[in-house]
Amino acid sequence: MGADPVAGGMTPERSRITVAIVDDHPVVIEGIRSWLATEPRLAVVATGEDPDRVLAADQPTADVILLDLRLRGRMVLDKVTELGGAGRRVVVYSEHSDSDTILAVLDAGAVAFLAKHEGREHCVDTVLAAASDRPYVPPALAGAIVGDRRTGRPVLSDKEREALLLWFQSMSKASVARRMNISEHTVKQYVDRARIKYARAGRPAATKAALLARAIEDGLVRADEIGS
Protein backbone atom coordinates (compact mmCIF):
# COMPACT_ATOMS: atom_id res chain seq x y z
CA MET A 1 0.00 0.00 0.00
CA GLY A 2 1.17 3.56 -0.68
CA ALA A 3 0.38 6.88 0.89
CA ASP A 4 -3.03 7.01 2.50
CA PRO A 5 -5.32 8.78 -0.01
CA VAL A 6 -7.55 10.07 2.79
CA ALA A 7 -4.64 11.63 4.63
CA GLY A 8 -3.27 13.02 1.36
CA GLY A 9 -6.63 14.54 0.54
CA MET A 10 -6.84 16.52 3.78
CA THR A 11 -6.34 20.24 3.38
CA PRO A 12 -4.45 21.38 6.49
CA GLU A 13 -4.66 24.99 7.56
CA ARG A 14 -1.37 26.83 7.13
CA SER A 15 -0.94 27.35 10.88
CA ARG A 16 -1.15 23.63 11.70
CA ILE A 17 1.82 21.38 12.16
CA THR A 18 1.90 18.73 9.47
CA VAL A 19 2.79 15.15 10.35
CA ALA A 20 3.64 12.10 8.28
CA ILE A 21 3.34 8.61 9.75
CA VAL A 22 5.43 5.77 8.35
CA ASP A 23 4.48 2.35 9.67
CA ASP A 24 3.85 -1.04 8.11
CA HIS A 25 0.83 -1.74 10.33
CA PRO A 26 -2.37 0.12 9.34
CA VAL A 27 -3.77 -0.37 12.83
CA VAL A 28 -0.80 1.49 14.35
CA ILE A 29 -1.19 4.31 11.83
CA GLU A 30 -4.86 4.60 12.75
CA GLY A 31 -4.02 4.52 16.46
CA ILE A 32 -1.46 7.28 16.20
CA ARG A 33 -3.70 9.31 13.94
CA SER A 34 -6.42 9.18 16.59
CA TRP A 35 -3.93 10.19 19.31
CA LEU A 36 -2.74 13.16 17.29
CA ALA A 37 -6.33 14.12 16.41
CA THR A 38 -6.86 15.11 20.06
CA GLU A 39 -4.44 18.01 19.51
CA PRO A 40 -5.94 20.62 17.15
CA ARG A 41 -2.54 22.08 16.25
CA LEU A 42 -1.57 18.82 14.53
CA ALA A 43 -2.63 17.55 11.12
CA VAL A 44 -1.63 14.18 9.67
CA VAL A 45 -0.94 14.79 5.97
CA ALA A 46 0.61 11.56 4.76
CA THR A 47 0.80 7.95 5.90
CA GLY A 48 2.11 4.71 4.52
CA GLU A 49 4.61 1.91 4.92
CA ASP A 50 7.25 3.09 2.44
CA PRO A 51 9.14 6.18 3.66
CA ASP A 52 10.27 7.09 0.13
CA ARG A 53 6.68 7.19 -1.12
CA VAL A 54 5.23 8.91 1.95
CA LEU A 55 7.89 11.61 1.73
CA ALA A 56 7.92 11.87 -2.09
CA ALA A 57 7.91 15.32 -3.68
CA ASP A 58 4.30 15.03 -4.83
CA GLN A 59 3.11 14.45 -1.25
CA PRO A 60 2.26 17.31 1.11
CA THR A 61 5.37 18.33 3.06
CA ALA A 62 5.37 17.11 6.66
CA ASP A 63 6.95 19.19 9.42
CA VAL A 64 7.45 16.07 11.54
CA ILE A 65 7.87 12.46 10.45
CA LEU A 66 6.85 9.70 12.84
CA LEU A 67 8.89 6.73 11.70
CA ASP A 68 8.56 3.15 12.87
CA LEU A 69 12.13 1.90 13.28
CA ARG A 70 11.26 -1.55 11.97
CA LEU A 71 9.59 -1.71 8.57
CA ARG A 72 8.83 -5.05 6.95
CA GLY A 73 11.27 -6.76 9.33
CA ARG A 74 14.15 -4.39 8.60
CA MET A 75 15.66 -1.78 10.94
CA VAL A 76 15.68 1.49 9.00
CA LEU A 77 18.38 3.29 10.95
CA ASP A 78 20.00 4.31 7.63
CA LYS A 79 16.75 6.05 6.72
CA VAL A 80 16.92 8.01 9.99
CA THR A 81 20.46 9.10 9.15
CA GLU A 82 19.43 10.10 5.63
CA LEU A 83 16.39 12.12 6.74
CA GLY A 84 18.20 13.70 9.72
CA GLY A 85 21.06 14.70 7.45
CA ALA A 86 18.54 16.37 5.13
CA GLY A 87 17.13 18.34 8.04
CA ARG A 88 13.85 16.39 8.26
CA ARG A 89 12.55 16.16 11.84
CA VAL A 90 12.21 12.46 12.48
CA VAL A 91 10.59 11.11 15.63
CA VAL A 92 11.44 7.43 15.78
CA TYR A 93 9.04 5.20 17.57
CA SER A 94 9.56 1.55 18.13
CA GLU A 95 8.82 -1.43 20.29
CA HIS A 96 12.61 -1.91 20.39
CA SER A 97 13.26 0.27 23.41
CA ASP A 98 16.60 -1.17 24.49
CA SER A 99 19.20 1.47 25.33
CA ASP A 100 21.58 0.61 22.50
CA THR A 101 18.88 1.08 19.88
CA ILE A 102 17.70 4.35 21.41
CA LEU A 103 21.22 5.80 21.60
CA ALA A 104 21.92 4.70 18.01
CA VAL A 105 18.72 6.46 16.89
CA LEU A 106 19.78 9.69 18.65
CA ASP A 107 23.21 9.40 17.08
CA ALA A 108 21.65 9.01 13.63
CA GLY A 109 20.01 12.42 14.05
CA ALA A 110 16.45 11.62 15.15
CA VAL A 111 14.86 14.51 17.04
CA ALA A 112 13.34 12.15 19.59
CA PHE A 113 12.71 8.53 20.41
CA LEU A 114 9.37 7.27 21.59
CA ALA A 115 8.72 3.76 22.88
CA LYS A 116 5.52 2.37 21.41
CA HIS A 117 4.05 1.74 24.84
CA GLU A 118 4.61 5.29 26.02
CA GLY A 119 1.16 6.46 25.09
CA ARG A 120 -0.75 9.39 23.73
CA GLU A 121 0.48 12.30 25.82
CA HIS A 122 4.14 11.57 25.26
CA CYS A 123 3.43 11.10 21.57
CA VAL A 124 1.63 14.42 21.18
CA ASP A 125 4.16 16.30 23.31
CA THR A 126 7.06 14.80 21.40
CA VAL A 127 5.62 15.79 18.03
CA LEU A 128 4.82 19.31 19.23
CA ALA A 129 8.32 19.78 20.62
CA ALA A 130 9.92 18.29 17.51
CA ALA A 131 8.04 20.69 15.23
CA SER A 132 9.71 23.64 16.95
CA ASP A 133 13.13 21.95 17.13
CA ARG A 134 12.82 21.64 20.89
CA PRO A 135 13.90 18.57 22.83
CA TYR A 136 11.42 16.26 24.43
CA VAL A 137 12.61 13.34 26.50
CA PRO A 138 10.07 10.57 27.08
CA PRO A 139 10.95 8.19 29.95
CA ALA A 140 12.46 5.42 27.76
CA LEU A 141 14.82 7.93 26.21
CA ALA A 142 15.70 9.25 29.68
CA GLY A 143 16.50 5.69 30.76
CA ALA A 144 18.77 5.12 27.78
CA ILE A 145 20.70 8.31 28.52
CA VAL A 146 20.97 7.53 32.25
CA GLY A 147 22.23 4.02 31.51
CA ASP A 148 24.66 5.14 28.80
CA ARG A 149 28.09 3.64 29.62
CA ARG A 150 29.71 4.14 26.21
CA THR A 151 33.12 5.72 26.17
CA GLY A 152 32.96 9.21 24.78
CA ARG A 153 29.39 9.74 25.98
CA PRO A 154 28.45 13.33 26.83
CA VAL A 155 29.29 14.35 30.39
CA LEU A 156 26.15 15.20 32.37
CA SER A 157 26.13 17.29 35.54
CA ASP A 158 24.99 15.58 38.75
CA LYS A 159 21.73 17.54 38.71
CA GLU A 160 21.04 16.70 35.08
CA ARG A 161 21.67 13.04 35.70
CA GLU A 162 19.57 12.94 38.85
CA ALA A 163 16.67 14.71 37.14
CA LEU A 164 16.84 12.26 34.22
CA LEU A 165 17.04 9.29 36.58
CA LEU A 166 14.05 10.37 38.66
CA TRP A 167 12.04 11.28 35.55
CA PHE A 168 12.81 7.86 34.08
CA GLN A 169 11.69 6.20 37.30
CA SER A 170 8.58 8.17 38.16
CA MET A 171 7.38 9.57 34.83
CA SER A 172 6.09 12.52 36.86
CA LYS A 173 7.87 15.87 36.62
CA ALA A 174 5.90 17.09 39.65
CA SER A 175 7.24 14.22 41.76
CA VAL A 176 10.78 14.80 40.50
CA ALA A 177 10.45 18.49 41.36
CA ARG A 178 9.30 17.65 44.89
CA ARG A 179 12.08 15.13 45.38
CA MET A 180 14.79 17.47 44.12
CA ASN A 181 13.30 20.51 45.80
CA ILE A 182 13.19 22.49 42.58
CA SER A 183 10.43 23.71 40.28
CA GLU A 184 8.97 21.57 37.51
CA HIS A 185 10.32 24.09 35.05
CA THR A 186 13.84 23.52 36.37
CA VAL A 187 13.38 19.73 36.16
CA LYS A 188 12.47 20.11 32.51
CA GLN A 189 15.50 22.33 31.98
CA TYR A 190 17.88 19.77 33.48
CA VAL A 191 16.35 16.98 31.39
CA ASP A 192 16.40 19.04 28.19
CA ARG A 193 19.97 20.19 28.78
CA ALA A 194 21.05 16.56 29.09
CA ARG A 195 19.29 15.82 25.80
CA ILE A 196 20.93 18.81 24.09
CA LYS A 197 24.35 17.49 25.10
CA TYR A 198 23.55 14.45 22.95
CA ALA A 199 22.80 16.74 20.00
CA ARG A 200 26.40 17.96 20.32
CA ALA A 201 27.79 14.43 20.31
CA GLY A 202 28.30 11.90 17.55
CA ARG A 203 28.09 12.56 13.84
CA PRO A 204 26.75 15.97 12.82
CA ALA A 205 23.24 16.22 11.37
CA ALA A 206 21.13 19.16 10.25
CA THR A 207 18.48 18.22 12.84
CA LYS A 208 21.05 18.29 15.62
CA ALA A 209 22.21 21.72 14.53
CA ALA A 210 18.59 22.91 14.55
CA LEU A 211 18.07 21.54 18.09
CA LEU A 212 21.22 23.32 19.27
CA ALA A 213 20.32 26.59 17.59
CA ARG A 214 16.87 26.58 19.17
CA ALA A 215 18.34 25.65 22.59
CA ILE A 216 20.64 28.67 22.40
CA GLU A 217 17.77 30.87 21.27
CA ASP A 218 15.65 29.65 24.20
CA GLY A 219 18.50 30.27 26.63
CA LEU A 220 18.67 26.56 27.54
CA VAL A 221 22.39 26.51 26.78
CA ARG A 222 24.79 29.35 26.06
CA ALA A 223 26.54 29.60 22.71
CA ASP A 224 29.95 29.49 24.43
CA GLU A 225 28.97 26.18 26.09
CA ILE A 226 28.71 24.53 22.71
CA GLY A 227 32.46 24.46 22.26
CA SER A 228 33.94 22.94 19.19
Binding site: S99, G143, A144, V146, Q169, S170, A174, R178, R179
Partner: protein, 386 residues
Protein backbone atom coordinates in the same frame (compact mmCIF):
# COMPACT_ATOMS: atom_id res chain seq x y z
CA UNK B 1 40.84 -26.69 43.72
CA UNK B 2 41.92 -27.83 47.21
CA UNK B 3 44.74 -29.85 45.64
CA UNK B 4 45.99 -26.83 43.71
CA UNK B 5 45.81 -24.80 46.87
CA UNK B 6 47.75 -27.40 48.81
CA UNK B 7 50.34 -27.74 46.04
CA UNK B 8 50.91 -23.98 45.94
CA UNK B 9 51.21 -23.77 49.71
CA UNK B 10 53.61 -26.70 49.79
CA UNK B 11 55.82 -24.94 47.22
CA UNK B 12 55.88 -21.77 49.31
CA UNK B 13 56.60 -23.54 52.58
CA UNK B 14 59.29 -25.69 51.01
CA UNK B 15 61.01 -22.62 49.57
CA UNK B 16 60.93 -20.92 53.00
CA UNK B 17 62.21 -23.98 54.86
CA UNK B 18 65.03 -24.51 52.36
CA UNK B 19 66.31 -20.96 52.51
CA UNK B 20 68.36 -21.59 55.71
CA UNK B 21 70.24 -24.63 54.37
CA UNK B 22 70.92 -22.76 51.10
CA UNK B 23 72.58 -19.91 52.97
CA UNK B 24 74.48 -22.39 55.12
CA UNK B 25 75.76 -24.27 52.06
CA UNK B 26 76.94 -21.02 50.45
CA UNK B 27 78.70 -19.96 53.66
CA UNK B 28 80.44 -23.33 54.04
CA UNK B 29 81.67 -23.35 50.41
CA UNK B 30 82.98 -19.78 50.49
CA UNK B 31 84.24 -20.06 54.07
CA UNK B 32 86.31 -23.05 53.05
CA UNK B 33 87.48 -21.37 49.85
CA UNK B 34 88.49 -18.09 51.57
CA UNK B 35 89.67 -19.19 55.02
CA UNK B 36 91.44 -22.45 54.15
CA UNK B 37 92.20 -22.44 50.39
CA UNK B 38 93.29 -18.82 49.94
CA UNK B 39 96.04 -18.83 52.66
CA UNK B 40 97.20 -22.27 51.47
CA UNK B 41 97.50 -21.12 47.83
CA UNK B 42 99.30 -17.88 48.77
CA UNK B 43 101.52 -19.61 51.35
CA UNK B 44 102.72 -22.23 48.87
CA UNK B 45 102.79 -19.90 45.86
CA UNK B 46 106.53 -20.38 45.00
CA UNK B 47 106.26 -24.16 45.20
CA UNK B 48 103.62 -24.57 42.53
CA UNK B 49 104.91 -25.58 39.12
CA UNK B 50 102.80 -22.87 37.43
CA UNK B 51 101.61 -20.54 40.24
CA UNK B 52 99.54 -18.31 37.94
CA UNK B 53 97.56 -21.26 36.68
CA UNK B 54 96.73 -22.22 40.28
CA UNK B 55 95.85 -18.58 41.10
CA UNK B 56 93.63 -18.40 38.04
CA UNK B 57 92.07 -21.74 39.07
CA UNK B 58 91.26 -20.31 42.49
CA UNK B 59 89.58 -17.31 40.84
CA UNK B 60 87.63 -19.55 38.44
CA UNK B 61 86.39 -21.60 41.43
CA UNK B 62 85.30 -18.36 43.11
CA UNK B 63 83.52 -17.17 39.97
CA UNK B 64 81.68 -20.48 39.42
CA UNK B 65 80.78 -20.55 43.13
CA UNK B 66 79.44 -17.00 42.93
CA UNK B 67 77.21 -17.78 39.93
CA UNK B 68 75.94 -20.94 41.63
CA UNK B 69 75.31 -19.14 44.96
CA UNK B 70 73.45 -16.19 43.42
CA UNK B 71 71.23 -18.47 41.36
CA UNK B 72 70.65 -20.78 44.31
CA UNK B 73 69.56 -17.95 46.60
CA UNK B 74 67.35 -16.43 43.89
CA UNK B 75 65.88 -19.80 42.98
CA UNK B 76 67.08 -19.38 39.39
CA UNK B 77 68.60 -22.28 37.41
CA UNK B 78 72.34 -22.42 36.67
CA UNK B 79 74.02 -24.04 33.65
CA UNK B 80 74.84 -26.93 35.98
CA UNK B 81 76.79 -29.42 33.91
CA UNK B 82 79.07 -26.95 32.04
CA UNK B 83 79.98 -25.37 35.39
CA UNK B 84 80.64 -28.80 36.96
CA UNK B 85 82.89 -29.48 33.96
CA UNK B 86 84.77 -26.22 34.58
CA UNK B 87 85.30 -27.17 38.25
CA UNK B 88 86.63 -30.63 37.29
CA UNK B 89 88.96 -29.04 34.73
CA UNK B 90 90.35 -26.67 37.38
CA UNK B 91 90.73 -29.68 39.69
CA UNK B 92 92.87 -31.42 37.04
CA UNK B 93 95.00 -28.28 36.44
CA UNK B 94 95.62 -27.67 40.15
CA UNK B 95 96.67 -31.33 40.54
CA UNK B 96 99.05 -30.93 37.64
CA UNK B 97 100.61 -27.82 39.13
CA UNK B 98 100.86 -29.06 42.73
CA UNK B 99 104.22 -30.55 43.82
CA UNK B 100 104.12 -34.15 45.08
CA UNK B 101 104.75 -33.04 48.67
CA UNK B 102 101.59 -30.94 48.78
CA UNK B 103 99.11 -33.36 47.13
CA UNK B 104 97.35 -34.12 50.43
CA UNK B 105 97.67 -30.48 51.60
CA UNK B 106 95.07 -27.72 51.32
CA UNK B 107 97.34 -26.23 48.66
CA UNK B 108 95.80 -28.84 46.33
CA UNK B 109 92.45 -27.15 46.90
CA UNK B 110 90.52 -28.42 43.89
CA UNK B 111 89.92 -31.90 45.14
CA UNK B 112 88.93 -30.98 48.69
CA UNK B 113 86.67 -28.06 47.73
CA UNK B 114 85.01 -29.62 44.69
CA UNK B 115 82.23 -31.27 46.76
CA UNK B 116 80.99 -28.08 48.44
CA UNK B 117 80.77 -26.13 45.17
CA UNK B 118 79.13 -29.03 43.36
CA UNK B 119 76.49 -29.13 46.13
CA UNK B 120 75.58 -25.54 45.24
CA UNK B 121 75.23 -26.49 41.58
CA UNK B 122 73.35 -29.76 42.09
CA UNK B 123 70.94 -28.37 44.71
CA UNK B 124 67.56 -30.08 44.60
CA UNK B 125 68.80 -32.87 42.30
CA UNK B 126 69.04 -36.47 43.37
CA UNK B 127 71.98 -37.74 45.47
CA UNK B 128 73.46 -40.08 42.77
CA UNK B 129 74.33 -37.01 40.63
CA UNK B 130 76.47 -35.65 43.46
CA UNK B 131 78.02 -39.07 44.11
CA UNK B 132 78.87 -39.40 40.42
CA UNK B 133 80.64 -36.03 40.29
CA UNK B 134 82.53 -36.82 43.49
CA UNK B 135 83.53 -40.18 42.00
CA UNK B 136 84.96 -38.42 38.94
CA UNK B 137 86.84 -36.12 41.35
CA UNK B 138 88.15 -39.18 43.22
CA UNK B 139 89.27 -40.80 39.94
CA UNK B 140 91.16 -37.66 38.94
CA UNK B 141 92.79 -37.65 42.36
CA UNK B 142 93.79 -41.32 42.04
CA UNK B 143 95.38 -40.70 38.66
CA UNK B 144 97.14 -37.63 40.06
CA UNK B 145 98.49 -39.45 43.10
CA UNK B 146 99.68 -42.42 41.11
CA UNK B 147 101.44 -40.12 38.69
CA UNK B 148 102.97 -37.87 41.32
CA UNK B 149 103.77 -40.26 44.16
CA UNK B 150 103.39 -43.84 42.83
CA UNK B 151 101.26 -46.64 44.31
CA UNK B 152 102.64 -46.66 47.89
CA UNK B 153 100.41 -48.35 50.47
CA UNK B 154 100.61 -45.34 52.81
CA UNK B 155 99.64 -42.93 50.03
CA UNK B 156 96.74 -45.12 48.93
CA UNK B 157 95.37 -45.29 52.46
CA UNK B 158 95.74 -41.50 52.84
CA UNK B 159 93.97 -41.22 49.51
CA UNK B 160 91.12 -43.43 50.74
CA UNK B 161 90.75 -41.32 53.88
CA UNK B 162 90.75 -38.12 51.85
CA UNK B 163 88.09 -39.47 49.47
CA UNK B 164 85.98 -40.43 52.45
CA UNK B 165 86.44 -37.03 54.11
CA UNK B 166 85.79 -35.00 50.96
CA UNK B 167 82.67 -36.96 50.01
CA UNK B 168 80.76 -37.71 53.20
CA UNK B 169 80.05 -34.17 54.40
CA UNK B 170 78.59 -32.79 51.14
CA UNK B 171 76.58 -36.00 50.61
CA UNK B 172 75.26 -35.89 54.20
CA UNK B 173 74.25 -32.28 53.76
CA UNK B 174 72.43 -32.98 50.51
CA UNK B 175 70.55 -35.91 52.05
CA UNK B 176 69.51 -33.75 55.00
CA UNK B 177 68.29 -30.93 52.75
CA UNK B 178 66.30 -33.31 50.56
CA UNK B 179 64.66 -34.88 53.61
CA UNK B 180 63.80 -31.47 55.05
CA UNK B 181 62.21 -30.39 51.75
CA UNK B 182 60.05 -33.51 51.50
CA UNK B 183 58.95 -33.14 55.11
CA UNK B 184 58.08 -29.46 54.74
CA UNK B 185 56.13 -30.15 51.55
CA UNK B 186 53.99 -32.87 53.07
CA UNK B 187 53.37 -30.84 56.25
CA UNK B 188 52.29 -27.83 54.20
CA UNK B 189 50.06 -29.96 51.97
CA UNK B 190 48.41 -31.45 55.03
CA UNK B 191 47.87 -27.99 56.56
CA UNK B 192 46.49 -26.56 53.31
CA UNK B 193 44.13 -29.50 52.86
CA UNK B 194 42.90 -29.01 56.43
CA UNK B 195 42.35 -25.27 55.80
CA UNK B 196 40.45 -26.02 52.59
CA UNK B 197 38.17 -28.46 54.39
CA UNK B 198 37.56 -25.97 57.20
CA UNK B 199 36.79 -23.20 54.70
CA UNK B 200 34.32 -25.42 52.89
CA UNK B 201 32.71 -26.38 56.17
CA UNK B 202 32.44 -22.71 57.20
CA UNK B 203 30.91 -21.76 53.84
CA UNK B 204 28.41 -24.60 54.05
CA UNK B 205 27.60 -23.49 57.61
CA UNK B 206 26.97 -19.92 56.51
CA UNK B 207 24.79 -21.07 53.63
CA UNK B 208 22.83 -23.25 56.00
CA UNK B 209 22.49 -20.39 58.49
CA UNK B 210 21.25 -17.98 55.82
CA UNK B 211 18.67 -20.53 54.67
CA UNK B 212 17.54 -20.96 58.26
CA UNK B 213 17.31 -17.18 58.67
CA UNK B 214 15.17 -16.90 55.57
CA UNK B 215 13.00 -19.77 56.68
CA UNK B 216 12.62 -18.21 60.12
CA UNK B 217 11.66 -14.86 58.63
CA UNK B 218 9.07 -16.53 56.40
CA UNK B 219 7.85 -18.60 59.29
CA UNK B 220 6.98 -15.47 61.27
CA UNK B 221 4.96 -13.86 58.48
CA UNK B 222 3.96 -16.53 55.94
CA UNK B 223 3.55 -19.10 58.71
CA UNK B 224 1.32 -16.74 60.66
CA UNK B 225 -1.11 -16.16 57.80
CA UNK B 226 -1.20 -19.87 56.93
CA UNK B 227 -1.95 -20.73 60.56
CA UNK B 228 -4.70 -18.14 60.69
CA UNK B 229 -6.21 -19.50 57.47
CA UNK B 230 -6.02 -23.06 58.74
CA UNK B 231 -7.65 -22.18 62.04
CA UNK B 232 -10.36 -20.21 60.28
CA UNK B 233 -9.37 -16.96 61.97
CA UNK B 234 -8.49 -15.37 58.62
CA UNK B 235 -11.14 -15.13 55.92
CA UNK B 236 -9.83 -15.87 52.40
CA UNK B 237 -12.50 -13.53 51.03
CA UNK B 238 -11.12 -10.61 53.05
CA UNK B 239 -9.11 -8.29 50.74
CA UNK B 240 -6.62 -7.65 53.56
CA UNK B 241 -5.97 -11.37 53.91
CA UNK B 242 -5.62 -11.71 50.15
CA UNK B 243 -3.10 -8.89 50.19
CA UNK B 244 -1.06 -10.56 52.94
CA UNK B 245 -1.10 -13.82 50.98
CA UNK B 246 0.04 -12.06 47.83
CA UNK B 247 2.85 -10.36 49.72
CA UNK B 248 4.05 -13.61 51.27
CA UNK B 249 3.89 -15.40 47.93
CA UNK B 250 5.99 -12.68 46.39
CA UNK B 251 8.57 -12.76 49.20
CA UNK B 252 8.71 -16.53 49.08
CA UNK B 253 9.31 -16.40 45.36
CA UNK B 254 12.10 -13.85 45.79
CA UNK B 255 13.82 -15.74 48.60
CA UNK B 256 13.80 -18.89 46.50
CA UNK B 257 15.22 -16.88 43.57
CA UNK B 258 18.07 -15.65 45.79
CA UNK B 259 19.81 -19.01 45.71
CA UNK B 260 19.53 -19.40 41.93
CA UNK B 261 22.78 -19.13 40.05
CA UNK B 262 22.03 -16.57 37.33
CA UNK B 263 24.06 -13.80 35.64
CA UNK B 264 22.02 -10.87 37.03
CA UNK B 265 20.69 -12.05 40.39
CA UNK B 266 19.06 -8.74 41.37
CA UNK B 267 17.01 -8.61 38.17
CA UNK B 268 16.18 -12.29 38.57
CA UNK B 269 14.90 -11.71 42.10
CA UNK B 270 12.89 -8.67 41.13
CA UNK B 271 11.42 -10.52 38.16
CA UNK B 272 10.34 -13.27 40.53
CA UNK B 273 8.30 -10.68 42.51
CA UNK B 274 6.92 -9.19 39.31
CA UNK B 275 5.84 -12.65 38.12
CA UNK B 276 3.73 -13.16 41.21
CA UNK B 277 1.89 -9.84 41.03
CA UNK B 278 1.44 -10.10 37.27
CA UNK B 279 -0.16 -13.48 37.77
CA UNK B 280 -2.59 -11.70 40.07
CA UNK B 281 -3.51 -9.40 37.21
CA UNK B 282 -1.39 -6.32 37.88
CA UNK B 283 0.41 -4.97 34.80
CA UNK B 284 4.02 -4.17 35.68
CA UNK B 285 6.35 -2.12 33.52
CA UNK B 286 9.77 -3.55 34.38
CA UNK B 287 12.73 -1.71 32.80
CA UNK B 288 16.42 -2.18 33.54
CA UNK B 289 19.14 -0.01 32.03
CA UNK B 290 22.89 0.04 32.42
CA UNK B 291 25.05 -2.79 33.73
CA UNK B 292 24.72 -4.13 37.24
CA UNK B 293 27.88 -4.69 39.28
CA UNK B 294 28.04 -7.96 41.25
CA UNK B 295 26.33 -7.37 44.61
CA UNK B 296 26.29 -9.54 47.73
CA UNK B 297 22.96 -11.07 48.70
CA UNK B 298 22.55 -8.72 51.72
CA UNK B 299 22.74 -5.65 49.48
CA UNK B 300 20.38 -7.21 46.95
CA UNK B 301 17.88 -7.88 49.70
CA UNK B 302 18.12 -4.33 50.98
CA UNK B 303 17.52 -3.12 47.43
CA UNK B 304 14.61 -5.43 46.61
CA UNK B 305 12.81 -6.13 49.87
CA UNK B 306 11.45 -2.64 50.63
CA UNK B 307 9.73 -2.60 47.24
CA UNK B 308 7.96 -5.92 47.66
CA UNK B 309 5.29 -4.67 50.05
CA UNK B 310 4.32 -1.76 47.85
CA UNK B 311 4.44 -3.90 44.72
CA UNK B 312 2.00 -6.47 46.08
CA UNK B 313 -0.31 -3.70 47.33
CA UNK B 314 -0.35 -1.87 43.98
CA UNK B 315 -3.81 -1.71 42.47
CA UNK B 316 -3.77 -0.43 38.88
CA UNK B 317 -0.30 -0.69 37.48
CA UNK B 318 3.29 -0.43 38.67
CA UNK B 319 6.54 0.71 37.12
CA UNK B 320 9.70 -0.98 38.34
CA UNK B 321 13.04 0.36 37.12
CA UNK B 322 16.63 -0.62 37.77
CA UNK B 323 19.52 1.61 36.80
CA UNK B 324 22.96 0.09 37.18
CA UNK B 325 26.42 1.61 37.07
CA UNK B 326 29.70 0.21 38.40
CA UNK B 327 29.39 2.25 41.62
CA UNK B 328 25.64 2.79 41.94
CA UNK B 329 22.44 0.81 41.62
CA UNK B 330 19.04 2.49 41.92
CA UNK B 331 15.81 0.50 42.10
CA UNK B 332 12.52 2.34 41.93
CA UNK B 333 8.89 1.38 42.12
CA UNK B 334 6.09 3.77 41.28
CA UNK B 335 2.39 3.06 41.26
CA UNK B 336 -0.62 5.36 41.09
CA UNK B 337 -2.07 3.88 44.26
CA UNK B 338 -2.01 1.01 46.71
CA UNK B 339 -4.81 -0.83 48.42
CA UNK B 340 -3.40 -0.03 51.82
CA UNK B 341 -2.48 3.26 53.41
CA UNK B 342 0.29 1.65 55.46
CA UNK B 343 2.31 0.33 52.58
CA UNK B 344 5.54 1.51 54.09
CA UNK B 345 7.77 -1.44 54.94
CA UNK B 346 7.96 -2.13 58.63
CA UNK B 347 4.26 -1.56 59.00
CA UNK B 348 3.43 -5.03 57.75
CA UNK B 349 5.92 -7.13 59.63
CA UNK B 350 8.48 -6.90 56.88
CA UNK B 351 11.84 -7.55 58.45
CA UNK B 352 14.12 -9.45 56.11
CA UNK B 353 17.20 -7.38 55.38
CA UNK B 354 15.28 -4.16 55.60
CA UNK B 355 17.23 -1.09 54.53
CA UNK B 356 18.74 0.30 57.68
CA UNK B 357 19.51 -3.04 59.29
CA UNK B 358 23.28 -2.92 59.37
CA UNK B 359 24.79 -0.51 56.91
CA UNK B 360 28.27 -0.87 58.32
CA UNK B 361 28.48 -4.63 57.88
CA UNK B 362 28.37 -4.57 54.09
CA UNK B 363 30.22 -2.85 51.27
CA UNK B 364 28.51 0.45 50.56
CA UNK B 365 25.20 1.81 51.78
CA UNK B 366 21.62 1.32 50.73
CA UNK B 367 19.53 4.44 50.96
CA UNK B 368 15.77 4.11 51.12
CA UNK B 369 13.18 6.71 50.14
CA UNK B 370 9.43 6.30 50.42
CA UNK B 371 7.12 8.96 49.10
CA UNK B 372 3.35 9.09 48.78
CA UNK B 373 1.52 11.97 47.16
CA UNK B 374 -1.79 12.55 45.42
CA UNK B 375 -0.22 11.38 42.17
CA UNK B 376 1.76 8.29 43.06
CA UNK B 377 3.44 6.08 45.61
CA UNK B 378 7.16 6.01 45.04
CA UNK B 379 9.64 3.67 46.69
CA UNK B 380 13.30 3.96 45.82
CA UNK B 381 16.35 2.13 47.10
CA UNK B 382 19.81 3.21 46.09
CA UNK B 383 23.13 1.49 46.70
CA UNK B 384 26.36 3.44 46.39
CA UNK B 385 29.76 1.79 46.50
CA UNK B 386 31.63 2.64 49.71
Amino acid sequence: MPTDLAGGAAGTVTATVERGPRIAAVLIAFGWHLVINLPAVLGNWPQYRLPWVVGAGWLVFSAVGLVAAVNLLRGAPSPTWPLVGVLLLVDVLVFACTPASLVFDSANFGWATLGWFVVLLLWGRRIPALVAVLAVGAAIALVGILALRGAGAADLSRYAMAVYGNATLPIAMMIAVNLLGTLAGSTARAAAARTAIETERAAAGRMHQSRRDRLAALDRTAGAILTELAEGRADPADPAVQRRCALEASRLRRLIAESDDVPDPLLHELRACVDVVERNGLPVDFVAVGTLPPLPVEIRRQLAEPLTTTLTAATRWARLTVVGQPDEVVVSLTTPGTSTTTAEPGGTGDTIGRAGDDFSAVAGEVEYVYEENEELVWVQTRWRAA
